[in-house]
């Protein structure tokens, strides 16, 4: 799990980073950040409308996608619910990579863990401010880090932020979380 529970009163912070600091964000983007989300949303529309990812990129490049740990085959049938965890990845190598691929020929090899529409609502639903956790892997991490991280509040635990020069020595306890809004100076 990205977080055991979503804090109801996490403070907000704004920070301006240099482009070079983007690499310090990559570990937490792999581990997962919280974004505010509608109560229920079709996965494709969540990616394009809520996260702002180009529709062509969604269709062509997001070849491996997990919803609460289950590989997703159909973006239009899958539902993003509050508290869920969404992981985005490019195409993966080898047989197992092909097995996890969206709509892949070898999908049957992962029978038992595939997304079947049965994901339930997470810890903080229903809520006034529902949160969905998003993880970025490999090419999606490189291509979408700025798309995800810039200009929107991200729910992050302090322990992930100690390598950011603009935020060193200014955090709370490591397990506490903060809504962080990032902009880049360059």
């Amino acid at each position: 799990m990205v977080m055991n529970s979503v804090p109801g009163d996490a403070p907000s912070r704004r920070v301006v980073l240099r482009n070079a600091d983007l690499r310090n964000l990559k570990p937490v983007l792999q581990a997962g950040v919280g974004v505010r989300a509608p109560l229920r949303q079709n996965l494709r529309r969540f990616l394009t409308d809520d996260l702002g990812i180009d529709p062509a990129y969604v269709e062509d490049r997001l070849q491996t996608v997990f919803l609460d740990g289950s590989p997703v085959d159909d973006f239009d049938e899958a539902a993003v619910l509050p508290g869920c965890t969404l992981a985005l990845s490019g195409a993966m190598p080898g047989l197992v990579g092909a097995t996890m691929r969206r709509g892949g020929y070898f999908a049957r090899l992962r029978e038992g863990i595939a997304y079947d529409g049965a994901n339930g609502e997470g810890e903080n639903a229903p809520s006034e401010k529902p949160v969905v956790f998003v993880k970025l892997f490999n090419r999606a991490l490189d291509d979408l880090a700025r798309v995800l991280a810039v200009g929107r509040p991200l729910l992050v635990e302090w322990r992930w932020l100690k390598d950011l020069p603009a935020l060193e020595n200014s955090g709370g306890d490591e397990a506490d979380a903060v809504w962080l809004t990032i902009n880049f100076a360059d």
Partner: protein, 577 residues
């Protein structure tokens, strides 16, 4: 590539070398040739470390040509780890140089006796062998220090470390890379022990003067190779993902899927996965002056390997692979890349299979020998193995034996070989392959080369449990065919995606040899290899009851999906029916 050289280590008066034409084995290469020779010439009920076993080293059908990514080397024998037939596959420079020197295979055979250790030298002038007492118990990096001057210019060295000399069932044969380092290994199944049982410490290949192999139809070959290379470069996996992050790109994804075996296969997710992921590793390598993009053999355009330096920018090891990072990482509860890199270096130096070694240490941790997560403790255990201490001897005999010594049921092995980095409860199709391959638990035996051109898989319901057996069979056949060509298995994704790229591979074979293969022909080729391996294993005493996973995988649910391996035995038996 029409000669086979045989070295009889038991000949009167000392090892005897004989060269002859490929003869009845014509048309075979790589795994096709190693399995063909082993199945024909090794009594299936012989002892793997006895005089009747043979070690066969063979480049692939396209090795030594200008074909991109064709430099994989096959090493075959009866395995001391599994007791069945074995093909261990390696990168490094060995295949390209051996093929250019004109050799389809080197066969080590006969009954070794005495204390001498031998170094074999192969060049355009032929093959020589001489005793060299100075190499006794030398590690692979020590062998590099001693012999690099002989092979660094267009050459390569195959060597065993102390583990192979001690005939440990977990020992490898190292194959030097483009920088001359012993970083690539024919790893699985104890092939190093068989080389050690023949008294051969090293085979030095001198490629100076050796010419690139000429195809039967040069124009058609050139055209096919262009299409082949373009297909690999344009594919998102082979052209982008693998060069950028290496095989360890799989860590985050497999972990997210809940299929990442953690702490001796106790759960399917590791809380430290992001710290040891391919993305994190690539950033660290580049920041320390290494690289995340590096080929393991000349002619490779996928370049999924890399260079891992320490904090001071000094070379430690090649970029640890996904399986190595998993085995020494999550399976042991270790989340530090520097510790994992050190373990990888030690494995390479002593000549130990990283998958088997990591899985063995995890079993030792589960048994309480050391704690899960104890990096220094794991390093000590590998050192003990390389030194041959009593504990090291136990660990060097493999995961199954170590579990037996410490009284554990939980040994994640099939046919005595440890499972690699995918839990079969979460990915049941992989479990079918683990159970039914001729090689023991092996993730590469069922790779994806199945395209519509090959018509594999048929019209089975994609989500039905009954489809797993048929698909696994098709994949095993296809993989055997690829293993025979010398191509790296990572071409599989490009072939799967792009039928024109698969056709380019078929055209490479046809234009190289003057054949007229089609997709069905490639399928038949792979089937023939698999059939001869199955036959050998049956003669060695294997029955359908050996094509099973350990019982606890059907009993203990794997978190987070809480799934068990529930493919019935009747389905497993259909794979090779």
């Amino acid at each position: 590539m029409d000669k086979i050289v045989r070295i009889d280590v038991g000949a009167a008066g000392g090892p005897k070398i004989s060269e002859g034409p490929i003869g009845d084995y014509a048309g075979l290469g790589g795994r096709g040739l190693t399995s063909g020779i082993v199945a024909a010439e090794v009594p299936a009920d012989s002892h793997a470390l006895g005089p009747e076993n043979k070690l066969v080293i063979a480049p692939g059908l396209l090795s030594g040509t200008a074909a991109a990514v064709g430099g994989r080397l096959s090493v075959g024998c009866k395995s001391p780890l599994t007791g069945g037939i074995k093909e261990a596959n390696s990168g490094g420079q060995g295949a390209q140089i051996l093929a250019k020197l004109g050799y389809a295979a080197i066969v080590l055979e006969g009954e070794y006796s005495g204390d001498d250790l031998y170094v074999v030298r192969v060049s355009t002038e032929g093959v020589k062998i001489e005793a060299d007492p100075s190499v006794k118990m030398a590690t692979n990096y020590q062998m590099m220090d001693k012999f690099l001057g002989e092979y660094e210019d267009k050459g390569c060295m195959l060597s065993i470390g102390p583990a192979g000399e001690m005939r440990m069932a977990n020992s490898t044969i190292a194959v030097t890379d483009m920088e001359g380092r012993p970083t690539r290994h024919a790893g699985r199944g104890g092939v190093g022990a068989v080389m050690g049982s023949k008294g051969i410490k090293a085979i030095i290949l001198d490629g100076r003067g050796a010419k690139i192999r000429k195809p039967a139809d040069p124009e058609a070959f050139k055209k096919a190779n262009k299409l082949w290379s373009e297909g690999l470069s344009s594919n998102a996996v082979t052209g982008e993902g693998l060069p950028a992050y290496g095989t360890n790109v799989l860590t985050n994804v497999i972990n997210e899927a809940g299929a990442y075996p953690t702490r001796n296969f106790a759960t399917g997710q590791f809380e430290g996965a992001a710290k040891i992921s391919g993305e994190t590793q690539a950033e660290l390598e580049v920041a320390r002056g290494g690289t995340a993009t590096h080929g393991c053999h000349s002619g490779c355009i996928i370049r999924c390997s890399g260079i891992f330096n320490n904090k001071n920018g000094e070379f430690v090891t090649k970029q640890p692979e996904y399986e190595t990072v998993w085995a020494h990482g999550a399976d042991c509860g270790i989340d530090d890349l520097d510790t994992i890199a050190e373990l990888d270096r030690l494995d390479d130096d002593f000549g130990l299979d990283t998958i088997e070694m990591g899985a063995t240490i995890a079993v030792a941790m589960d048994a309480g020998v050391i704690e899960f997560g104890d990096g220094p403790g794991a390093i000590d255990l590998v050192k003990q193995t390389g030194q041959g201490t009593p504990m090291g001897r136990i660990l060097g005999s493999g995961t199954a034996n170590t579990a037996k010594v410490f009284g554990l049921e939980r040994a994640p092995c099939v046919k005595g070989q440890a499972m690699p980095a995918y839990d079969p409860r979460a990915i049941k199709g992989i479990g079918v392959t683990y159970a039914t391959t001729t090689q023991g638990a092996d993730h590469t035996a069922g790779y994806a080369v199945a395209t519509n051109i090959m018509k594999v898989g048929g019209d089975v319901d994609p989500m039905a449990i009954e489809g797993q057996a048929e698909l696994s069979q098709a994949l095993q056949v296809a993989t055997a065919a690829v293993d025979a060509t010398g191509m790296c298995l990572f071409v599989a994704f490009a072939i799967l995606d792009q039928p024109e790229t698969f056709q380019a591979l078929v055209d490479l074979l046809n234009s190289c040899y003057g054949w007229e293969l089609d997709g069905d022909g490639v399928n038949a080729y792979g089937r023939k290899i698999l059939d001869c391996e199955r036959d050998f294993n049956a003669r060695a005493g294997f029955t359908p009851e050996d094509d099973r996973l350990p019982r606890y995988f059907s009993r203990e649910p794997l978190a987070p999906h809480n799934v068990v391996f529930d493919i019935p035995d009747s389905e497993l038996d259909k794979v090779h029916a």
